[in-house]
């Protein structure tokens, strides 16, 4: 019984991390159609925010709260300077964000050094029967749940969310009603970056903090967002659920290698059957 519980927590944790990591890209790519190859580096910047703040004596939670704002601001900066000239030009955006990714890794390496840094995992462990579980994993699940809920409420039930959704579908109409679409794009990109910053900050105590850490995540999150399709929340959640379940379930039964194989195979199959991602199912029904 305790094994089932611990496994369930593990699977839920794997799904949660995938949701959290992919949410930022879902906003930027899913909503705006911007292929942001620097998304992994936004994650990395969030992790470094926590590292820098803890090395200045702040508690790790303060660093995590700070990370979305810092990375969001950086995101807005890059949107203003690079991305906004390239809307509607996906190949150029890919090239530009790839260059941005390399530049960010290089810049952080120069400033912070190439060595791997560590942040201790906060909170201890709890006993579940014969098994020990890290409390932080439960916290990550909770943070993810909270973030998804917040995103749902903002997107669906606030004016800002309405304006954002409208701008993505009909910018001309939104402009006619007095809101500058360019400001909306800027803000949305900033939010996508902020979400990435939060995800990176949350992952930092679990993995190491190193300039190249974005690489470990970028492939996974792109796959998740593509399989999810253009619906930001439900698409990403569904895709993370399915892929995360596949990876962790197979991982638990055998080894992490086969878990990754299972996840990628499933992504392949899903994309073949649903070229628009899982969101394609819902779009058609409407």
């Amino acid at each position: 019984m305790d094994q089932v519980l611990v496994t369930a927590v593990g699977v839920l944790f794997a799904i949660s991390t995938l949701v959290l990591l992919a949410l930022g890209l879902a906003v930027i790519f899913g909503m705006m159609g911007v292929v942001n190859l620097a998304q992994g580096e936004f994650l990395m910047l969030g992790a470094y925010t926590v590292l820098v703040s803890t090395s200045h004596g702040l508690p790790v939670w303060a660093g995590m709260a700070l990370a979305p704002f810092v990375v969001g601001a950086i995101g807005v900066l890059f949107e203003r300077s690079i991305i906004r000239f390239l809307y509607g030009r996906p190949l150029d955006t890919m090239l530009a964000t790839w260059g941005l990714s390399l530049a960010l890794v290089g810049a952080v390496t120069l400033v912070m050094g190439p060595a791997t840094e560590g942040i201790a995992t906060p909170l201890g462990s709890i006993e579940i029967g014969r098994y020990s579980l890290s409390v932080y994993r439960l916290v990550v699940i909770a943070i993810t749940g909270g973030t998804v809920l917040a995103a749902y409420l903002v997107l669906g039930h606030t004016r800002a969310g309405l304006v954002a959704r409208a701008t993505m579908q009909a910018p001309g109409l939104v402009a006619a009603s007095g809101v500058d679409p360019r400001h909306v794009f800027m803000a949305t990109f900033g939010v996508g970056a902020a979400l990435a910053g939060l995800a990176g900050a949350v992952m930092a105590p679990l993995t190491g903090v190193v300039p190249s850490m974005g690489l470990a995540f970028i492939a996974k999150i792109f796959i998740t967002v593509m399989v999810g399709g253009s619906t930001v929340l439900l698409g990403t959640a569904a895709s993370s659920g399915v892929l995360g379940l596949a990876e962790s379930a197979v991982s638990y039964v055998s080894t992490p290698i086969y878990g990754q194989v299972a996840m990628l195979t499933l992504a392949l199959v899903l994309l073949r059957l649903l070229p628009d991602g899982i969101s394609g199912l819902w779009r058609e029904r409407r």
């Binding site: 094994q3 611990v6 496994t7 593990g10 944790f13 794997a14 991390t17 390496t109 190439p114 060595a115 791997t116 840094e117 560590g118 201790a120 995992t121 201890g124 462990s125 006993e127 014969r130 098994y131 020990s132 579980l133 890290s134 932080y136 994993r137 105590p205 679990l206 993995t207 190491g208 190193v210 300039p211 190249s212 690489l215 470990a216 962790s248 991982s251 638990y252 080894t255 992490p256 290698i257 878990g259 990754q260």
Partner: protein, 411 residues
Amino acid sequence: MLTRRQALRRFGAASLGLALADLPPGRGQAAEEIVVGTLLDSTGPINIYGLPMVDATRFAIDDINASGGVLGRKLRVVQFDTQSNNQLYTQYATQLILESKVAVLMGGITSASREAVRPVVDKYGALYFYNEQYEGGVCDKNVFCTGVTPAQQIGNLVPWSVQEYGPKFYTLAADYNYGHISADWVKLYLQKSKGELLAQEFIPLDVVDFGSVIQRIESARPSVVFSLLVGGNHIAFYRQFAAAGLNKKIPVVSPTFGLGNEQIVLKPEEAEGIVVIYPYFQELDNEANRKWVAAWHQRFGAGYPYITDSASTVWNGWHLWAMAADKAGSLEPAKVIAALESGLTFDAPEGRIALDPQSHHVVHTVHMARVNDKKGFTIFKTVENVEPSDTKQVCDLIAKPGQHTQYTPKF
């Protein structure tokens, strides 16, 4: 519209630029100096091992030059950052051998990188030193492996662990040639010590989530976890293991932990108590090491994180080559190899080491230590002059010199 004049001007400028970029350095200088090459990872997940090794390279070259160089000539080192990318190892090795015409090539960190370099070295008959702990078995006339090997590490760590903690082992190994071959060595030594292998798992180098692994370890209830994990991403295992409170319940022993200063990246409460075994520790209390550590701190700063066994191995490698080249009176690979096979000994910071002529490996005295609460190690046991028997028993490059292979344990 591009006119002919414009085109000529542009192509002319481009060609000039390319030509200038390709000019060799001042010819006069190059004739005096000996060019040597090194390939190490300063960036990417393997840089946790690479950074101290890069520093050790500079330190060793400067030391050799300060004592008059080799054959009366100063050394000039050409170094490439291979960025934890094995493709670059092959590419830069070729470049160093053919373009820079290095007298000796040193480098490679993971066994995968070494095996990416070895064919290049064999193809062009260059001399290559691999200065890093590894899984043993390389039997190649052109190659000298100065690092610590399974007979020296695993061969002592396994019997001690069975005695100290119990016979049930759970092996976690990095999923590439080093991990697989070393895991085989663990099986072999475990058989000899009458231990029992509960399970062995191979983890790809880019995995950072060890939740499932930790759960399986808990189910299996081993007496000890034998870790052959490698690289920056695998540090997450120790962190997650400690976060689940298991570091207090199940002991971890490892022949790789510490080579990448994992005990500094982790917090003391996460790493304390892990048992390791190496020929070199910064804490070694002998005359030579005290002086060496002091000189290192003077050169690189007193706040230097920790001088690793890999750094000490790199130092040994450069000095052994310099000794042999001086002894041979020549830089020709064949002559230097003959000198290296003449039974050299060297007073290293770790103590006196001997280069075994037949196997091209080094006889090391090894020490067992525990990670302490000061981001360092506390030595508790020493085994003197352990032969690299894993390679020596199958490899005799004097009797059979034409070998360019790697032997692996068979069951």
